[in-house]
């Protein structure tokens, strides 16, 4: 499946872009409405971008009464990204979403770099959410931890059905003239191509640690980038920053993914799932040999 990364698309403003995906992931919803951080909230860096949006969202009440019914009419499966400041926040929102048929899955944003949260452990949040809903639960993890395999295993033990990898990591940009931070709050979350090798490593590590289904994301620009995430162990791929530059990216990446898979000898690109973990092709084996298998 091809999805968007949470916070990288508004399906109500750009419904056609959302419909080009296999599922739409909402911006993170919190218990109360949030305006988000003060501007400036985005800045381009050398090989990525920083954002400090700060979980701007209408809050769960307005989300459920106003946004969800309209999202349900889009004809695309809806995943709701859920955030909070303590474990109870996540549990409360999950139970509110539980009997809404429009919601296909819940992604637990346990790792937003833009909110100063008391760091409840990912596993505690997943466990609380698990008691509150029967919906499939995907835990979105940060790669900025000493051992992501440990976090992934704990999330699995707490009842996560899958993992979303990875969230942005903290970065800072200074104005070249004033040497002061460009972003209003100072630091922000780094996304884009700079994140891609980090995302690949996290996907490969968590695949080995848990074998849970994974939505891979981080810097995907084209079909080959998506294929690499699949090869590292991602079942699904989400598009993030590329959607800002190219609203036609869903259809383009999907087409490139088929081509990139076929060029490497895979009948369907899904067949490349986790091949990065197989033994390397023996010396002397060429791509052509592989294609003729």
């Amino acid at each position: 499946m091809l999805l968007n990364a949470s916070g990288c698309l508004d399906a109500l403003t750009a419904p056609d872009v959302a419909r080009a995906l296999d599922a739409f992931v909402t911006k993170t919803v919190t218990p109360l409405p949030r305006d988000g951080n003060t501007p400036v909230r985005i800045a381009e860096t050398d090989v990525g971008m920083l954002n400090s949006i700060g979980l701007a969202n209408p809050g769960i009440d307005r989300f459920v009464t106003r946004n969800l019914p309209r999202l349900g009419e889009l004809g695309v499966p809806i995943w709701v990204s859920v955030g909070g400041f303590e474990t109870d926040d996540y549990a409360e929102i999950c139970s509110r979403l539980d009997d809404h048929a429009e919601v296909s899955a819940i992604e637990l944003n346990v790792s937003c770099p833009n909110v100063e949260a008391p760091a409840e452990s990912a596993a505690q949040i997943v466990a609380a959410a698990r008691l509150a809903t029967r919906k499939p639960l995907w835990a979105k993890l940060s790669p900025a931890v000493p051992d992501i395999a440990e976090v992934a295993r704990a999330a699995q033990a707490a009842g996560a059905d899958g993992l979303s990898l990875v969230n942005t990591i903290r970065g800072l940009k200074l104005d070249a003239r004033t040497l002061r931070p460009v972003l209003g709050p100072g630091q922000g979350g780094l996304s884009g191509p700079a994140l891609r090798p980090i995302a690949l490593a996290a996907v490969a590590t968590c695949y080995r640690a848990t074998q849970l289904p994974i939505v891979g994301m981080g810097g995907v620009q084209n079909g080959l980038d998506a294929l690499e995430l699949i090869a590292a162990g991602a079942r699904h791929v989400a598009l993030g920053t590329i959607l800002f530059a190219d609203p036609d990216a869903p259809a383009r990446v999907r087409a490139e993914l088929h081509t990139a898979g076929a060029e490497r000898g895979w009948r369907a690109y899904e067949d490349a799932y986790a091949v990065a973990h197989e033994e390397a092709l023996s010396v002397g084996t060429t791509l052509d040999d592989r294609s003729s298998l």
């Binding site: 750009a14 911006k27 909230r41 985005i42 381009e44 920053t241 800002f244 190219d246 036609d248």
Partner: protein
Amino acid sequence: MRRERLKVVAGEEVGPYTLVRIERGGLDPGAPGQFFMLEAPGRLLPRPMSLCLAPRGELAFLIDPIGPGTRALCAMEPGDHLQVLGPLGNGFRLELDRPLLVGGGIGVAPLPHLSEALKQPPAVLGFRSEWHAQAAELVPNAQTCVEPTLVTQLIPEGMDVLACGPEPMLEAVRAVAPDAQLAWEAPMACGYGACYGCAVEIDGELKRLCVEGPVLCAA
């Protein structure tokens, strides 16, 4: 909203600015005050630009080379290609009795297209230097001033003001013409409501300028 890969026709110097003319392809030029996202060669994110002129079969943008993205755009050669998305946002309201265009610096960019649509109403333009003021050539019926004179000193009473320029100028215009339509700027990553980077306070709430604006009513 449509995205196409289009060919650069020409880049013409206008004082410190460059008028980048691009083949129109299948894109609609939109209403004056609307903008396009232009791929900036070598950069990750596109850059928002107001449409300056819509010559037959072309789209033209007046660009101030202030940073890496705008410098790359100004350096494009005829025959180069770039991705263009648009038209985006909300433009100026045009049913007005006594329109007056007010522009400051690179804020003159959307005024030539607007002037055409309003049948060349009077305009007052302010610039930092005589060199910058060469951009006034693009706006018919314009009275020009150079710092330390400010455009706000040239605005007569009782006019329907349509303005674009730096934030301090827009604030000053708003003070003398409370009903003015003002074209604002904010850093934009996407231009179509996806990134929430362009949020500004509108009616006491943070709203996305690319969706609600960039032209807003002062009142």
